[in-house]
């Protein structure tokens, strides 16, 4: 288990995370980074496909409650994650493998830390069960 490097897919909303880094954005800081215009754009199928493709965890970084540039996108994303947690548990995929963090971090200072922490908690769970 100690050699296990969890594969994490990270979606982040451009209006809340890293928009002050300029140029290549957060590519250098996070592996498997997918920038989106709004966390509400992240489809359920995107998340399930990630697990199917072998991701051990999916992290969604959205904007704080009440602060979505597109009004309620982060609320939609939060709903989706909540419902997916229930669904994934039935398939034997632990809740902790899908995480949504709603905050604002224009310079992306905290991202490395957030990703690291999630990596550690996934590490304890081990590789994802094949679905």
């Amino acid at each position: 288990m100690s050699d296990f490097e969890p594969k994490l897919v990270c979606f982040s909303c451009n209006f809340g995370w890293g928009y002050l880094t300029g140029g290549n954005g957060l590519n250098s800081q996070i592996k498997n980074w997918i920038p989106v215009a709004c966390s509400g754009k992240i489809d359920t199928t995107h998340i399930l496909d990630a697990f199917k493709a072998g991701a051990d965890g999916v992290l969604i970084l959205g904007c704080p409650e009440g602060d979505c540039h597109f009004q309620d996108g982060n609320f939609e994303a939060k709903k989706r994650v909540y419902l997916l947690h229930k669904l994934l548990e039935d398939y034997g995929i632990e809740k902790d493998r899908l995480k949504i963090e709603l905050s604002v971090d224009p310079e992306g200072k905290r991202i490395t830390q957030v990703v690291k922490e999630m990596g550690e908690s996934i590490g304890k769970l081990g590789p994802v069960k094949k679905i």
Binding site: L20, A37, K41, D43, A53, H69, Q71, R80
Partner: protein, 594 residues
């Protein structure tokens, strides 16, 4: 073989009907309010790093509106039409611009002059107020050599009457001094066109090819009762409020000028309140008397802004409503006002005060400051043959062209309005003069129909930030009593803007790289089941349904769509997609490599 040329009526015209957020429709300059609100919300929260961003936003605003820093203190017309007004309070756009001004005003002296070849000929602007200076700026940008004439010793026109506790002198000075430098405008202060043999014909002989007359309303309106001028206005101790404002701003009035004196200001408008609160700050015990009544919902409502009424009361001023002034007399060294009751101010005939002479009170004071309106310099207009047969200044409302073909008029001289209104007319006059001197039709394509958008829906709206005023007992000076936004507050207020307007009028996100582009949403009508999930999830009413051959399918109103992708994610049938969006491709790539 024909030759195609883009001149005259063969020129492509601007769109004449478009959608805009209501704030931009209200703004006489059509400032890019939404775009710059979003850009402010994206500033870093460290003041030093934010400077660079603020200068960029300021430079962008300056292009259309070199007075934007002044607007940050005394405008805010856009806020009256803001959609957020009914949902928690208008976005405080004026304070956002004041925030930008804090950094931009000191930077103005470094701003580089325009790089424009001035080879299109000479234009003269009469009046160096906001209207005249805007026209001069716009014409300079287009390559005209502009000379501005003003009879006073300062640039800025009517803005120079605004008390310093509402508009700091250095903000105004920085704007006008740098504007003439940046635009290369030739300035002739202390020169009154219409006096000393200098008239428009003389200027034509000197080679000026067109004129913009923006002489404003420099004279105070005398008090009248019915049709006659009120007796006693020439008595010692009676001075027009307008004169006081000018003299205070010139620095000619000592700090305790009205200490121990009872001052009565006649008038209920914003200027009367400027005069009254100025007199208070000079140590006076001030009463305001006006025809109108307090009830803001009435036809006879006192014209002054709510903020002025609240501020005045806090500062200890007394406001007496429903009173006219029939006469001024001197009794035992004091000035006595004869004030009958006014029972109605406006009726179907317009301004038509109804007076009840039997109900009359006396008001006593040491100083009387009538401030009931302003008038144009009619002699000048008359001598230049700009008045029509009934004695009115004639000007085409669309082109601002006067009776005389090379003379255009605008601003308060044409119709009394706000500072921004005069600026808007300066912009229009410049366009008219450019077309006139280029031989292009003056009217074509200039009527713009703009429809305002509603606010998008969201689950939770936020209240406006409370105003921050210095307590009234510490306001008896000419410093600004209103505190502006900190960087943090500005970012938060910028975020509160719900971007009512269409993407095509904004593009803030594209300009900073948050979105590469604005992909279009396409609906596959065969897959669409008509379930309306997209309609539910779209906050902008862009996703809608229609009936096609008896089947309900969804479609997207491109003009309202923000390309956020929420409808695409919400669609259970996968009937929607964002055409040209690179996200799907990137996801595939990453998943394949996992």
């Amino acid at each position: 073989m024909w030759k195609t040329e883009s001149i005259g009526s063969a020129r492509v015209e601007d769109a004449v009907k478009q959608f805009l957020p209501p704030c931009q429709i209200r703004c006489p300059i059509n400032e890019d309010i939404q775009r710059t609100n979003v850009l402010i919300s994206l500033l870093p929260d460290d003041p030093d790093s934010a400077k660079e961003g603020i200068i960029q936003i300021g430079d962008y605003l300056y292009e259309k509106n070199p007075f934007f820093t002044v607007c940050g203190y005394i405008c805010g017309l856009c806020e009256n039409d803001c959609n957020y007004t009914t949902k928690g309070g208008a976005i405080k756009r004026r304070l956002l611009k004041r925030f930008l001004s804090d950094t931009f005003t000191p930077y103005l002296v470094q701003k580089k002059p325009l790089d424009v070849k001035k080879d299109k000929g000479k234009v003269a602007v009469i009046g160096a107020g906001p209207g005249g200076l805007m026209a001069a700026y716009e014409l300079s940008k287009r390559g005209y050599t502009v000379t501005v004439f003003d009879s006073s010793n300062k640039l800025g026109g009517a803005a120079r009457y605004i008390p310093k506790y509402r508009l700091p002198e250095q903000v105004m000075d920085a704007v006008v001094d740098n504007l003439v430098r940046i635009a290369g405008i030739d300035v002739k202060l202390g020169v009154k066109v219409g006096e000393g043999g200098l008239d428009l014909q003389q200027l034509r002989d000197d080679g000026y090819k067109a004129f913009f007359v923006a002489t404003g309303t420099p004279y105070a309106r005398p008090l009248t009762f019915g049709t006659a001028e009120v007796e006693g206005q020439e008595l010692d101790g009676v001075m027009y409020g307008l004169t006081l404002l000018w003299e205070v701003n010139q620095g000619n009035i000592p700090a305790d000028y009205y200490k121990g004196k009872k001052v009565i200001v006649i008038g209920g408008g914003n200027v009367a309140f400027d005069v009254a609160r100025t007199a208070r700050r000079l140590g006076g015990d001030v009463t305001i008397v006006c025809l109108e009544i307090m009830d803001k919902a009435s036809k006879d409502a006192i014209p002054a802004d709510e903020e002025e009424l609240v501020g005045a009361r806090e500062e200890g001023l007394t406001i007496i409503t429903s009173r006219g002034v029939r006469g001024i007399t001197k009794v035992d060294g004091k000035l006595k006002l004869d004030c009958p009751l006014c029972t109605s101010v406006f009726d179907e005939r317009g301004f038509n005060p109804q007076i009840e002479c039997a109900d009359c009170i006396d008001l006593e004071g040491d100083v009387i400051l009538p401030t009931i309106g302003q008038m144009t310099d009619r002699d000048f207009l008359q001598n230049e043959a700009l008045l029509n047969e009934v004695g009115r200044l004639q000007a085409d409302p669309l082109t601002l062209q006067s009776k005389v073909e090379d003379v255009f008029v605008g601003g308060d001289v044409r119709r009394i309005g706000f500072l921004a209104d005069a600026m808007g007319e300066g912009v229009e006059a410049a366009e008219s003069i450019d077309r006139y001197l280029s031989g292009i039709d003056l009217k074509r394509g200039r009527v713009k129909e703009c429809e305002p958008y509603d606010a998008p829906y969201r689950r939770a709206y936020r209240d406006e930030p409370k105003h921050k005023w210095v307590p009234a007992d510490r306001r008896i000076n000419f410093d600004m009593f209103e505190e502006g936004f900190t960087l943090e507050e500005a970012i938060e207020e910028g975020r509160r803007c719900i971007t009512c307007g269409p993407c095509i009028s904004c593009k803030a996100c594209v300009s900073v790289g948050i979105q590469d582009d604005l992909p279009v949403v396409e609906v596959n009508e065969d897959l669409c089941s008509g379930c309306r999930m997209c309609v539910y999830v779209c906050n902008y009413e862009a996703a809608q349904v229609k009936e096609v051959d008896g089947k309900i399918v969804s479609w997207t109103d491109d003009l309202k769509c923000k390309s956020c992708g929420m409808c695409v994610a919400a669609c259970p049938s996968g009937a929607r997609q964002l055409v040209g969006d690179k996200t799907e491709g990137r996801i595939k790539e990453i998943y394949a490599a996992l």
